[in-house]
Subunit: 421 residues, 2 copies
């Protein structure tokens, strides 16, 4: 990166991070692409750690995405290696070989099989990632592993991010308190349909991999899959959730249908854990939007009255991805006509004459025309804030969704007109 990017005005301070029993991690500067900053992260998990993951739906996924997807059915994780600056995408056989040798090297250090080593890469697409820069650095990194390495690790996975992203919650599970702590990176190329940018969450809870997967998939659907910076879904998106079991919670009653994977998202035994996990995922996802390239405002878009939740989600994303809506927000212009345009264009069932639009809680337009005696003053005041609320009711059914986006500013053009060079 040639230029220095200022910290996002929407940045949030790093929360006080603790440790997650059973997880040790560390970051270091391996010189993969960046100079003078950390760019390689290793995490090690105790034996018995289960894992769940969701991945980009891109038809051109990176080699590490292929690798993780292939080993995920094993359900066991002992190590995670993440590098920033080179995404190892569209790198053919060389990319696959880099994954294999990285996993072998980490497996040797952790005392496990390569199929228990998860890999993630983020950065430029199409450049060969030299495996030896990683494999040479791993022994030193392994020596330095620490239960308190979380904050450094959150910094070590950043690319165009302007602040590190982490979140921590606790929950009661099987009679004991468990910790859920995670980190994420992402700023541009953010439109994680069915997956996300990189997100790594660990818990000391003991949960079988299929249950973990059910909880993660459901949580991601309402959090990471509901954010967009620029509509450009990455080739490298993934969220991994590791459960070490070190908290010693009572195992779930496996005979109970309530805790089968199919029912995990509803079971009362998991309610507290589920809420805390979803809160971690939600917090991390919103941090990605708060660090959206060039962002100065956070948009929350609530869609109701759609024919289905899926339809509401697509309407919300059409609004959140519209360059004209996003530039209007940047310009603090309550240009609700562009919201109408975005609803109209997205191909979902909509009827101009039952549509209503609110900004900042003020209903501006209803039933196909502007509200009688509409006074723009409070809306103009709302537009000057950092958090913009848009609500659209389609008046057709009970489908609803909430999505988050950011404005489109000169900062985005600055960052992306010169990122690679």
């Amino acid at each position: 990166m040639a230029q220095i990017i200022a910290t996002s005005p929407l940045a949030q301070p790093m929360p006080e991070l603790g440790s997650v029993r059973g997880v040790r991690l560390q970051a270091m500067a391996a010189g993969i692409r960046y100079k003078g900053r950390t760019d390689l992260v290793l995490a090690e998990f105790i034996p018995g750690t289960t894992v769940a993951g969701v991945f980009t739906q891109s038809k051109c996924p990176g080699a590490p995405v292929d690798w993780c997807r292939a080993i995920l059915p094993g359900g066991q994780a002992r190590a995670l290696v993440v590098n920033a600056g080179n995404a190892n995408v569209f790198t053919g056989r060389a990319g696959r070989e880099t994954c294999e040798s990285t996993a072998r090297a980490a497996a040797e250090l952790a005392g496990c099989t390569p199929e228990q080593v998860y890999l993630a890469s983020t950065g430029v697409i199409g450049e060969i990632l030299p495996a030896e820069r990683i494999t040479k650095a791993l022994p030193e990194l392994h020596e330095a592993l620490s239960e308190t390495g979380w904050a450094d690790a959150a910094r070590g996975i950043m690319t165009t991010d302007t602040f590190p992203k982490a979140a921590v919650r606790t929950a009661m599970l099987g009679g004991v308190e468990v910790v859920i702590q995670g980190m994420a990176k992402g700023s541009g190329m953010i439109a994680p349909d069915m997956a996300t940018m990189l997100g790594f969450v660990a818990t000391d809870a003991a949960l079988p991999a299929p249950v973990l997967q059910a909880l993660l998939s459901a949580g991601v659907k309402k959090t990471f899959n509901c954010i967009t910076v620029d509509s450009d879904t990455s080739t490298s998106d993934m969220v991994l959730l590791f459960a070490t079991g070190a908290a010693g919670n009572a195992p779930l009653p496996t005979t109970s249908p309530a805790t089968s994977p199919e029912n995990a998202i509803d079971s009362p035994e998991l309610a507290d854990f589920r809420a805390a996990l979803n809160d971690v995922l939600h917090t991390l996802a919103l941090m990605v939007i708060r660090d959206g390239e060039g962002a100065t405002k956070l948009m929350t878009i609530s869609v109701s009255g759609a024919v289905s939740d899926a339809s509401a989600w697509r309407v919300g994303m059409a609004i959140g991805n519209s360059p004209l809506v996003k530039t209007a927000i940047a310009g603090e212009d309550a240009n609700w006509g562009r919201i109408v345009m975005a609803v109209g264009k997205c191909g979902e069932p909509a009827d101009r004459d039952t549509l209503s639009v609110s900004i900042g809680g003020v209903c501006i337009a209803r039933n196909g025309t502007v509200t009688d005696g509409y006074d723009e003053t409070p809306v103009v005041a709302h537009m000057k804030g950092q958090e913009i609320d848009i609500a659209v009711d389609l008046g057709l059914g009970n489908g609803s969704a909430r999505v988050w986006s950011c404005d489109l500013t000169h900062g985005y053009i600055d960052i992306n007109g010169s990122y690679r060079s």
Copy 2:
């Protein structure tokens, strides 16, 4: 508009326009929104003029779109009224009444029924369009109608356009030379899926409305429907094609199946006319991209090897709409990894390992990795030009498409962060 926008660096000079026998038109300043410039255009067609049209697929169309769609089955046109500055969209009953009174006023002047008067509006969404500003101005405008009013009319329909857009061709039809002349406007909110921004084309050929419609629909599909500035499909898009019949060409053999509407796009009798019409549509569509808000470069994206033409079109549009591709082009960065990303994200069948990407005629990546010995030098030189050629072969089938887009620059942010205010 608060600010003065400089003329696009991609602007083209107005061609030498002639007249189209059977068409008289004029523009005037009616003070609808702009001050000190023309913003109202009236055209009158001789009795017997046939008409074809295509309209936005938006679920929130403007009142004039509803009006035109309703009267199109009549197939006859005697007048066209276009205003700039107010789109008459999301204006409810008031919007419908403005259409009705405008059509009645124009019909009285032209001596026809209101159902033979076509209406188009472009500009801000959601503000009431005062009918009397138009109806009061129409008599003076009607007095001033002229066969040579084309250039003034092309200027009178502009909004954020930085140059007027017109094209003219001739063709042989039924033994005589006929003229096809048209104008268009559009600069932002351009992603005309199945329709376009405003485009008006007239010919002195005699052609039945159903044949005209078949030719227009087929032509628009490969021209206006293959351009995008910002992925934001307008609520007001339309292209109308009027045929006055004043050229006196021999009527088509109506008994011949070759000239039925179903076969119009293949019939040899129409080949020359069809080619000229498509050329007019293509020229106008590319002028819209050349005037894309903030554009400094014209991108031509050729997609081949897709499973179908429709799939190739969607891949091309995903590339042409990607903010990351568009900012890379603006930054003159041959960042082909972002093209791979756009192909991967768009949901169309694609296989990373059969995909190839070329820029400026240089094959950069093939079969899932960068080309052996790839030398970026000629590609870097190509990126500095004003016309950027991107070619993608998916390696799956015979589907192909060509689409056009422009780069995303600070100019777009400038224009759209303050357009309405």
